[in-house]
């Protein structure tokens, strides 16, 4: 259950600079959130730096010896094709963050459209949409994603679509219950009395008031999405032309890195996933606390 007593009527974009300063004051009190933000900036920096790496570090024609343990030339050793693991991990950050963020945006947009429609219109539209949501909630998501990915064929675009279209249920439920409570408020009634149309009310009253919820929720969804991408790629459904943390682990497992004791190849991508997921989770929770202080969840 979600209950907001005083939602901001004007929306969070009002008086940006002062609000931003206030926001930061509140945010930095959350220690986990600050750590998460730091880790996130670090990963983003790594992803950006990887753009300037010479291609010879990561392409399949790499010339170094294969499966070298860490040494002064290759700080994290090399993989089964002689590529530099550190360079691969940085390049993987790019793919994982890109898929994580874009797929989450799709999820959140789909979830918001469904949640707002169900909550605002109610009646049979609500009934049908929520029944569909319930079915999606029950479906084993990894099985569904793997099946869809196998049918569509593995490519970056398809992975984003598949993850995006399976992960919207949580957002839809949150947005629906928030919409239900907002549409009963006096300022919406006033708008109706003044003759505003449905779309006007949704755009000017409902969406600005669910925005802060959606914003924090999106960051939390990104964490889940990164895990999904990793699982999909590990099970061989990733884009074969792109390095991601999941695809690195797929190749590591496939080439028997576990049996060879090549922990320099197995540990870094996994640790990156853990750090990224934790970072997004902490930032999401901190944002939720700061932006939705009066929201009480039972």
């Amino acid at each position: 259950m979600i209950d907001v007593q005083h939602a901001t009527v004007t929306g969070p974009l009002e008086l940006p600079r002062r609000r931003l300063a206030e926001f930061w004051q509140a945010y930095r009190k959350n220690r986990r959130g600050v750590w998460g933000l730091g880790a996130l900036l670090f990963l983003i920096a790594a992803a950006l730096l990887s753009l300037f790496l010479p291609a010879s570090f990561t392409h399949t024609g790499a010339v170094a010896d294969i499966l070298q343990p860490p040494n002064w030339r290759h700080w994290l050793g090399t993989d089964e094709l002689g590529r530099d693991v550190l360079a691969l991990v940085a390049t993987g950050a790019r793919t994982s963050l890109l898929i994580g963020i874009t797929a989450s945006l799709i999820s959140v947009i789909v979830g918001t459209v469904i949640g707002v429609s169900a909550g605002y219109y109610g009646g049979w539209i609500d009934e049908i949409l929520m029944r569909i949501t319930d079915i999606f909630l029950v479906l084993p998501w990894l099985v569904l994603m793997l099946t869809l990915a196998a049918l569509l064929g593995p490519s970056l675009f398809n992975i984003i679509v598949v993850i995006g279209l399976t992960g919207w249920t949580g957002t839809a439920r949150i947005v629906r219950s928030q919409t239900l409570s907002i549409k009963e408020r006096p300022f919406v009634e006033r708008s109706v009395a003044l003759g505003a149309g449905d779309l006007y009310i949704i755009w000017h009253h409902i969406l600005p008031n669910v925005f802060s919820l959606i914003f924090a929720n999106t960051v939390l969804v990104i964490a889940v999405t990164i895990l999904s991408e990793t699982s999909l790629s590990f099970l061989g459904m990733g884009d074969p032309l792109r390095v991601s943390w999941g695809s690195m682990l797929y190749h590591a497992f496939d080439s028997g890195a576990a049996a060879l004791g090549a922990h320099w190849y197995l540990l870094p991508p996994g640790i990156c996933v853990v750090v990224a997921v934790m970072a997004f989770t902490f930032v999401g929770q901190a944002l939720d606390e700061v932006l939705n202080p009066r929201v009480k969840r039972s």
Partner: protein, 321 residues
């Protein structure tokens, strides 16, 4: 009985939707075993194409094909595997048992451990135990299941040589007694079960902790304390039964995630179950088997959800069927 009458239609409706998705997904998507791929090869003559379409029933309208699919599925006919050239239902039947054994054991362990550790964390709120338990849960939430499995393999199977790396029994071994067979299976399933339990544990722990913390703040707990009841009586009689309800909801919601975990764990440990079969079928694009697995797993999850709903009813008399 009233419970079944109210919930069964919904479950049947869900299963019907799943059948619809299962049929049209595999028929209409690019790359599926559709009309296009099967028949439109330039190597076939026009007559062969017509013959093939007829053999596979592709000449009939889509609606009729769907009805035929429904009828066949109802009779347990799920088609023929591309890779193994055997009926999909036979292949799947062999794999259900091992998966249920693995997943059931891990889920049961995770629920029991998660509840007790979570209860302990709520009871000793603010202590190092509480902080450690929550930190552990958050870490486990972020760890990819398969990666934890690989780490287990490289530590305990390769490093310490304490456990076998693959399968359910030693290949080719003739077991002298069923006791020895059981021991062999336990030896093989130990690590996969531990891995899956660790991954599932965190969620249960957190929910139990949060739920019990809420219950412990209720007035009736203060009353129980005022009556001079001992801690263990308060916990076991008054607090725990009420704190269990959110657990049941989470267990039901977790079932889909559980099957996802099974796919990853079975792949890493080469456990001969549905998950491993799914991985192999994905690699060889064995669509009839994938279609069968999708159906079986979703139906298993829907039925387990029905069971959880019923359990909720038994535990909480306030909920009406």
């Amino acid at each position: 009985m009233t419970f079944l009458l109210s919930r069964l239609p919904r479950a049947i409706f869900t299963i019907f939707i799943i059948l619809v998705i299962n049929f049209f997904l595999f028929r209409l998507m690019p790359g599926a075993n559709s009309d296009r791929n099967l028949v439109n090869s330039p190597r076939f003559s026009a007559e062969t194409k017509a013959q093939l379409r007829k053999t596979f029933g592709l000449d009939k309208p889509l609606g009729t094909q769907f009805l035929v699919y429904l009828a066949n599925t109802a009779r347990g006919r799920l088609g023929i595997s591309f890779a193994q050239k055997r009926p999909v239902s036979d292949i799947i039947r062999e794999k259900v048992g091992p998966t249920l054994l693995l997943v059931g054991t891990a889920e049961a362990l995770a629920i029991v451990l998660g509840m007790s550790l979570g209860a302990l964390a709520a009871w000793r709120r603010g202590t190092w135990w509480d902080i450690g338990a929550v930190g552990f849960s958050l870490t486990m939430y972020s760890v990819p299941t398969f990666w934890l499995g690989i780490l287990m393999v490289s530590m305990f199977c390769v490093g310490l040589r304490a456990f076998p790396t693959f399968g359910m029994v030693v290949p080719g071994e003739v077991h002298a007694s069923s006791w020895l067979y059981a021991m062999d299976v336990i030896h093989h399933m130990f690590l996969p079960v531990v891995t899956l339990t660790l991954v599932l544990l965190g969620g249960y722990l957190l929910i139990m902790k949060e739920s019990l913390t809420g219950v412990l703040a209720e007035d009736y707990i203060t009353t129980a304390r005022a009556k001079g009841l001992t801690d263990s009586v308060i916990l076991s009689r008054h607090a725990l039964p009420n704190a269990m309800l959110p657990m049941v909801t989470l267990i039901a919601l977790n079932l889909g995630f559980l099957m996802g975990g099974a796919i990853e764990i079975e792949t890493v440990f080469s456990w001969p179950g549905l998950g491993r079969l799914m991985f192999e079928s994905l690699q060889s694009r064995d669509f009839p088997v994938l279609q069968g697995i999708f159906l079986i797993i979703t139906i298993m999850v829907v039925l387990a959800n029905l069971l959880a709903d019923w359990l909720y009813l038994v535990l909480d008399p306030r909920v009406k069927a």
